[in-house]
Symmetry: C2
Subunit: 360 residues, 2 copies
């Protein structure tokens, strides 16, 4: 399969649904990907099960607070520099680019880099959604080190980190990202094919394409895409309402805050609050938790089904909140230690979305 | 010349005089240097004018807030790791270790590393004193890049920085040092012999040895060493008094604050305030500036002549403050832009110490 202009549009939309509010508006990333594909041709998308066991793979991503990423426009060369520095340090050539997550900007940056360097991209990622921190990838669950990793900015500052563990990789890379102005580009989790096969979330790029296509086709036929999306993703509608408050701050290299919704239609008279750290973390209906990380909580425009990222939330928006079960890799003991509600400071057990009672 | 146990003692004392309060108490560094020299033999001290033009040199130093450095005991292997990582990245072998400054801990760490690796040390440094920031070295004045530089900690975290300029090297290395707990070890300013010759402050290690020897010999003969020190360094006594207040905070990877002295003997009835950022920056007598960076302002114990570092200042200490003219390299336009009073936020012109009127 090839990623061309249509796939870029579909991925931008689909990954923003899986991105659960994180990763920043995909618009700028899309411009970079379109430009690179127009100049260099389509990007080959390869199945992770078909890669060679000893080929070399690297994750390419933007890092930082989405509120900053959408304002501090990348030059497009930062991520390429990060990859080149990592290749130079390890004295290895990358066989294909791996997306670290499905999310706004980070669904597009790997396409842009792959196109620029005439490399394929692997149809997988390390989250099957988006998460805010470096170690929050399934690669971490399989003992793969995030480092050596390289962090680069638009001034051509380049920092190569070798950390004693993946939590230290996050701390050091975050501090560097904050100094670089709150957003930066990374090449991380260098690994071989046999590791990638085992540890990735497979076929998440084609899932993003399917999601984007579903929204696009529903729109073109005059249907509302939300019901189709929920079916495609085995999810459920958590809440319909309008946004009555958004608290948002850019802090320590993250966008943190909460959004408050008042119910409409079947949820009239109820209140939903969603906390976020780049991504939506937890949803509370009248104070009762009805969905938490690692399950996906996504806010869609009720009328168009367009996903709304956390930095795009505004007073008065009519929205539909959907919940989507996360990949089974996140529901293991180590998965929940890494991205469960307790890691984010909530003193509650994770309850899979499917086991939470109906909210109507 | 060789650096053995006696020289280590003399350098610790002498460099703390030139260190103008910075670099932390040399005690811990001295233990590391003594241990390394006892195990591996004396360190050869080579004259910078005699190095080969295309040999390869690297500065080795501790970085961070002295208040932290004296509490967070180094394992002794951090600086070696930093050097090894830099050698690996550049694929070059270091010919000799260069001290970055004369100052507490940083007079000793290069000796410890040189001894451990059986390398010589060059009889020079990049300051002829101590300064708080990465770019504040004469190497910077000659256009030599601080990076690639490596920052390491006791957990074996290692960060290789390539910055777009030396101010960015400082910002990125400082952020990493803060994350590493407020102190770290660096290998920086990789350069060739011809660069070192031109840009260094020559023979500053032997000057530290002379200072230390002067204090030691005066003590053993029952003399007060302060008059001899002032003569040796072409300095002058600025103030005699006792410490009546110390304000000190550990902030953004630095130790910042001020010390207030009430005059004794010929300065009775007057007040001296010294501001510091790791090192002493500016001295104000009854509000009038009588010495500023880049000239050296050093606080000595009045009775013994022992230099007191900024984190060792205590209420009630009887002290003598001396001023020492800085190296001419610092009195150039670029020198004063880099380390003059305006850089540190004081809206005053630099007046060389010798031109300030007598304070008596």
């Amino acid at each position: 399969m090839k990623i061309g202009l249509q796939e870029i549009e579909d991925i931008a939309l689909g990954a923003a649904v899986l991105g659960t509010g994180g990763g920043g508006d995909p618009y700028i990333g899309k411009l970079l990907a379109i430009d690179a594909v127009e100049k260099n041709g389509d990007v080959e998308l390869i199945d992770p099960q078909k890669v060679n066991d000893h080929d070399f793979f690297v994750c390419i991503a933007a890092m930082g607070a989405p509120t900053v990423i959408v304002e501090k426009i990348p030059s497009g060369s930062e991520a390429v520099l990060a990859l080149k520095e990592l290749e130079k340090y390890l004295n290895k050539k990358v066989s294909a680019i791996v997306p670290i997550e499905q999310g706004g900007l980070n669904s597009q940056i790997p396409i842009a880099v792959a196109a620029k360097l005439n490399l394929p991209m692997v149809d997988c990622d390390g989250m099957g959604r988006a998460f805010p921190e470096v170690q929050m990838v399934t690669f971490h669950l399989y003992g793969i080190s995030a480092t050596p990793m390289v962090v680069c900015d638009e001034r051509k500052n380049s920092v190569l980190i070798k950390a004693c563990d993946n939590l230290w990789a996050e701390r050091l890379a975050r501090a560097v990202t904050v100094q670089m102005g709150g957003s930066a580009f990374t090449a991380s989790f260098p690994m071989e094919g046999f590791q990638l096969k085992q540890a990735c979330i497979p076929n998440s790029v084609t899932l993003s394409i399917k999601i984007g296509k579903t929204i696009r086709e529903a729109r073109s036929k005059g249907f509302n895409p939300i019901e189709s999306l929920v079916k495609l993703l085995s999810g459920k509608i958590i809440f319909r309402g309008k946004i009555v408050d958004v608290i948002r701050r850019t802090q320590a290299g993250f966008t943190r805050g909460e959004v408050k919704l008042e119910g409409l239609e079947e949820h009239s008279g109820r209140t939903l609050v969603i906390d976020f750290q780049n991504e939506n973390l937890i949803a509370k209906l009248n104070g009762k938790i009805i969905a938490t990380v690692p399950d996906l909580i996504t806010i869609l425009d009720t009328e168009t089904g367009t996903p709304i990222t956390t930095e795009g939330l505004k007073y008065g928006q009519r929205v539909t909140v959907i919940g989507i079960p996360c990949n089974e890799k996140w529901r293991t003991k180590k998965g929940l230690e890494t991205v469960g509600p307790r890691y984010f400071g909530y003193n509650v057990e994770y309850v899979p979305l499917e086991q939470v009672g109906d909210v109507n």
